[in-house]
Amino acid sequence: MGRRRILTLAAGLSTTLALLGCTTTEEPPDLEREPKQASAELDAIDASDLQLPLIVEPLELVEPGWDLDVKHLGDVFLSARSGDERLDFSAVDSNGTTLWQAQRPTGCTGFTMTLDSEGQPLAVLTDSASDETCTTEVTASAYDLESGEQRWGPTEVPGPMQGPGAVFSSDDGDEAVALDPDTGETAEESSTSRVLGEFQGTILSVDEDTLSASDEGKTTWKIPLSDHDWNADGLTAFPDQTEGLIHLDAKDGSGPVIDAESGDILDDSASEIARDANSEMIITRDPQGLTVIDAAGTNELPVSLPKSVVLEAAVGGLIYLREGETLRVHNAATGSIARGYPAEGSGVVAVPDAFTSKGLGTLRAGDRTLLATDRVVEESAEGQR
């Protein structure tokens, strides 16, 4: 074999290998994708090294090992443990019982919860049979949130889950679609409108002039953009969902909070929101400060907050604010500082995250996610937890 031929072969090989290196995608390992029913009660953990909110002090805590953000609907919580090989999703109820588990490739972190037209809660998980990063050949499937039984899918979608809700978009963001929670088919939208989000069955879209919500293909309410000086191109939905509410970014990280059912605007320039499912209060944060919205009306708390303060949660009539590593609890009725934790505590503080109307829910303590269950702690002889 001549030298030129060898060199040509070597160059060709290197180019081929280089091209392979550029284009290859790593296939996911074999996974147990179909939800496997578990019905296993998680063991209570010893949380004596943590500072726990008073609202969960009498309750047993479990640690499902979740690494992703937790979502909940009704009494069921869903998230996943993130490992090197795969994501292990698990649905756990407020009793601390694992209902079902399913595996996905490590990149398929997009998941959501929605409601079908009969009000049945569904979990929507994404998948890719060919791409561990879950950016190509992405599909979505829906499962009954409590039983794990498949309801529809896998449905091909343009790309990863964009959210909020079952909204998927291509990498370039040119194509975004919302899936119908009943069928998994792409919800029909006019060619001139852009999907902003799916909120438990309500699909929100915007065209040049109007913000529109539709349910089962029927328009439920509309808001003319000109009424609020909103710009169609600048309008986006905040990714975090709060049950019953739509929160949009209209300008510079703040925008309207809209009642998803009625289309009523509750606050027109909120940068953060929290819903207290327990006391049925909505807390919004706008440039002025904190506003509490409940059945009695709107109450502006006389407290101004610098940007560095984060609205973490609202549970049981208390508002949890954080600045850096310090947490502060306010009474939602008066704005005054409230006692949310035992006095003179020490250790990592467990901060409320997603709570049900019964005051059960998840807490974040550093990199740990805990679930406060409806199981009551049995006190030892010394009265210790």
């Binding site: 030298r3 060898i6 070597a10 160059a11 090989l13 290197s14 290998l17 280089a18 290196g21 550029c22 290859t24 790593e26 500072q51 690494d67 992703l68 953000d69 990149g107 972190t109 997009g110 998941f111 561990e132 990063t133 879950c134 950016t135 889950m161 964009q162 959210g163 990714p239 002025q288 400060g289 006389p302 407290v303 101004s304 907050l305 610098p306 940007k307 604010l321 954080r322 850096g324 590593e325 310090t326 947490l327 502060r328 609890v329 008066t334 704005g335 005054s336 500082i337 006692r339 949310g340 934790y341 006095a343 003179e344 505590g345 250790g347 990592v348 503080v349 974040r364 550093g366 990199d367």
Partner: protein, 247 residues
């Protein structure tokens, strides 16, 4: 040995090997970078991954704070009222805070009535949690206070019960406000920019931070904390109770 073989260039076996090795190295590098990017994209694709964990280690608890250690400084230019007044009100405020402005309009005049009658001493602290413009305003207010015009200047910055926009707290805008209330402008500018003023402003802000005054306004009325621009009646009742308890 045939002649033509003698002049034939020697086959350099290491050339194709080097090319292949380089190619393999390139591929490995691409795969490594690709994997790293994939790892990142997996985190950023849909917001499902939790944000970097903040380890919260402290819970603000007013009853845990030792609020008794507020030595009144007779020379404090931001204080008003007798140093031995029966009641002391410490106010933690910020010149960009809407509710501080509202409280200054609604409640401060009533508090100053108590100051005038000798029953109350107000010690004002700017915490500057809203940013650099607040700090600049705090220096200017301190400089105005050195000329005994703190309240006049304060009212200029919170005119109409609203805070100024950050651009209206620039050194030029603050200097203009000082001129409006008839301050000695050379002295004002010297004081506003002096290290001594900066040190005093920093000390006041640090005191607020130490007490966890990360929302404003926050008050300490004879050792008892109050958060937010509570109605005037809350402060009046508290002062009256304190006065009654001392009689």
């Amino acid at each position: 040995m045939p002649r033509h073989e003698a002049v034939r260039p020697q086959y350099r076996w290491w050339i194709p090997l080097t090319v292949v090795a380089a190619a393999l190295a390139l591929v490995l590098m691409i795969l490594f970078v690709d994997r790293g990017q994939n790892d990142d994209s997996a985190r950023n694709t849909d917001g499902g991954q939790q944000e970097p964990d903040v380890v919260v280690t402290e819970v603000e608890d007013p009853e845990q704070k030792d609020l008794s250690d507020f030595d009144s400084d007779d020379e404090d230019p931001l204080a008003d009222g007798p140093v031995d007044a029966p009641v002391t009100l410490v106010v933690f405020s910020d010149y960009q805070c809407p509710y501080c402005a509202a409280w200054s309009q609604d409640t401060l005049p009533t508090m100053l009535d108590y100051v005038d009658s000798g029953d109350l001493r107000i010690e004002w602290r700017e915490v500057n949690v809203f940013g650099r413009a607040s700090e600049q305003a705090a220096k200017a207010a301190y400089a105005a206070a050195l000329q005994d015009k703190h309240w006049e200047f304060h009212e200029k910055l919170f005119a109409g019960g609203k805070p100024r926009a950050p651009e209206d707290l620039s050194p030029e805008a603050l200097t203009s406000a000082a001129a409006d209330i008839g301050l000695d402008m050379d002295q004002f500018e010297a004081d506003m920019n002096s290290p001594k003023t900066a040190e005093a402003v920093d000390e006041n802000a640090a005191m607020g931070t130490e007490l966890g005054a990360f929302s404003t306004p926050t008050f300490i009325l004879d050792g008892q904390p109050y958060v937010g621009a509570q109605p005037t009646s809350v402060f009046v009742d508290a002062i009256e109770q304190n006065l009654e308890g001392q009689n």
